[in-house]
């Protein structure tokens, strides 16, 4: 009797479970097809381009040319400086902003959220040219600075590193704030109240409770910002004014000026490898920090 009850209808139920599993896997199919055709296949094509000569032989000549060119390393340095700078500014500006959003009432937070998201809804070209108007020699800021007598000469704010950085931070800030805000909003308000009741100042509470608990959100926001900005093109192209040449700009130049498809492809693979290495390092570091005993 008991032996029977254990297997009653088991085969049918197992079949139902399998059907259900197949259905949920099939939901991912359209995106798998698109990613496959749109991203994975071109990647192989680029890899092939970077390794092939005009006659079709396999060669590393594109890579040796790339790695022995001083401009490559200079553009890598500029890229890392821009990404690091953007990340730093996002941390400094974004963490307090996310904290503010997370600590106001849901009503106020959703209103402020619209302001945060507004830049995301505007075309990057429009925003970047907007910054040009504000930052250039006879732009809004320099008019104010010179007009008020604070400086005698217009400050160079655009067509340089500063301008590029401002544009990039503006673009990335909402993207950084979203995961950070989500992590902070999930912190139980009573936990923060408990810390305060035990005598913690807001700053101490922020350092010992809020930051560690929001670490996951801040880390993923940071990785997104850093990795995303490694391939930035439009902002440095417009606000850098030809003086700032991160990797994306150099790839474009290799293609449009030198018509060197092999070289550009090799550069692309080079960038991809850097992203991969940095991504893996960041993930590893995050895991290391999280597994550290937190009591101390």
């Amino acid at each position: 009797m008991t032996a029977m009850t254990a297997t009653v209808n088991a085969a049918g139920l197992r079949r139902d479970a399998a059907t259900e599993r197949r259905f949920f896997l099939s939901l991912a199919l359209p995106s798998l097809v698109i990613v496959g055709i749109g991203a994975i296949l071109p990647l192989f094509w680029i890899l092939q381009q970077s390794l092939a000569t005009a006659r079709g032989d396999i060669t590393l000549v594109n890579y040796t040319a790339l790695l022995t060119n001083g401009l490559t390393w200079r553009s890598l340095l500029v890229t890392l400086e821009l990404s690091g700078g953007t990340l730093l500014c996002c941390l400094v500006l974004g963490i307090p902003l996310a904290f503010l959003l997370a600590s106001t009432s849901p009503r106020t937070a959703s209103r402020l959220m619209v302001l945060v998201l507004l830049p995301l809804w505007t075309s990057i070209l429009v925003r970047t040219y907007g910054w040009l108007v504000i930052l250039r020699r006879d732009g809004l800021i320099n008019d104010l600075l010179v007009g008020s007598g604070l400086v005698s000469e217009p400050v160079p704010l655009v067509y340089n590193f500063t301008g590029t950085l401002i544009g990039m931070v503006h673009y990335m800030l909402p993207i950084f704030v979203l995961p950070t805000y989500a992590a902070m909003r999930d912190i139980d308000g009573n936990v923060i109240r408990a810390a305060a009741s035990m005598g913690a100042s807001l700053w101490h509470c922020f350092r010992t409770v809020i930051l560690p608990l929001a670490f996951g959100g801040i880390a993923s926001g940071s990785v997104i910002v850093f990795v995303y900005t490694l391939g930035f093109f439009i902002t440095p192209a417009i606000l850098g004014g030809g003086r700032i040449s991160p990797i994306a700009i150099r790839i474009d130049r290799t293609l449009s000026t030198l018509q060197d498809w092999g070289g550009a492809a090799a550069f692309g693979v080079f960038l991809l490898l850097i992203v991969a290495v940095l991504g893996v390092t960041a993930l590893g570091a995050a895991r290391l920090i999280r597994s550290k005993p937190a009591a101390d």
Binding site: D188, N190, V191, R193, A194, A195, A196, S197, M198, G199, A200, S201, H204, T208, V209, P212, L213, P293, A294, A295, D296
Partner: protein
Amino acid sequence: MASPRIALERVRKVYGRHVALDDVSVDVRPGEFLTLLGPSGSGKTTLLMAIAGFVRPEAGLIRIGEADVTRLPVNKRDIGIVFQNYALFPHMSVLGNVEYPLLLRRLPRAEARERARAALARTQLEGYEARDIAALSGGQRQRVALARAVVFEPRVLLMDEPLSALDKNLREQMQFEIRKLQQDLAITTIYVTHDQREALTMSDRIAVMNGGRIEQLDAPQPVYQRPRTRFVANFMGESNIMPAALVEPLGSAPPLDGTLVIRAENFALERDAAGGDGIAIKGRVAAYAFRGETWHLRLKVEGERELLLSIPSGKSLDQAGITIGQQLTAYAAARHIHRLDGGPEP
């Protein structure tokens, strides 16, 4: 240092048009366990949070000892708080949680560890120091929260429905543990709950709250047996509130007037079992239920009024049985009849 008194004077808090605290004044004695008891929305949690410093009142004075703390920020008030959902730091171990307030006060690490261990021993959590918060049961989390709230020897202790998430048996056990800890430390404590049994079990005094006011402030027994208002009578267990005209005085009992309160468990179905002369009411059984230690009866009496009766089981009723519509007479002794002062008839 002895735990100080807490004195509130005309504390007022308004949310929009809703008056959460309607000029509440109360004086909590040094070392006393005072419970704020009331339904949700009665203002009990708002009052506790105002004392803690998380709610800024519109007006009023809050004193701890002689010091006016009304405008003092939370982290300067030196108050231990146990929250409803424990509010433990999920990223720290048990020991880390309990050490937190001590390290905050810049105690040497060894001394902090020592005192945290002692506090954990007090709450029966020896051997749990290295555990993750996520690996603890609800009762254990409650004990950590308790240890953390008292380890830094705060001047007073506030608790906001700390047992509401626990199951019944554990809740009853924790009631005694918390009460014992509070008495051992002799710390002035304000405790919020909506559970009248919990309030009766634990408190020196109970403040029954309703609509942002304290309706009655008394020791458990008077609150239960001699409710001062209709609300308190209704809120504390099963009570019957009725005009005196409805009942029939028996024997040597004096005539009655006004509004009467008789608890469900003070009725008997035989005149002898009521424990003395008093009143009688006739009615028909409208509904009944067996509740283990008691039979629960709804008696329909004159004027569509319903009477709640709670009759001990294991006695004559078990044998005789009950049927719907059955005619019964309920008796209550004079000493169990409480007269409400004033107030209109229901």
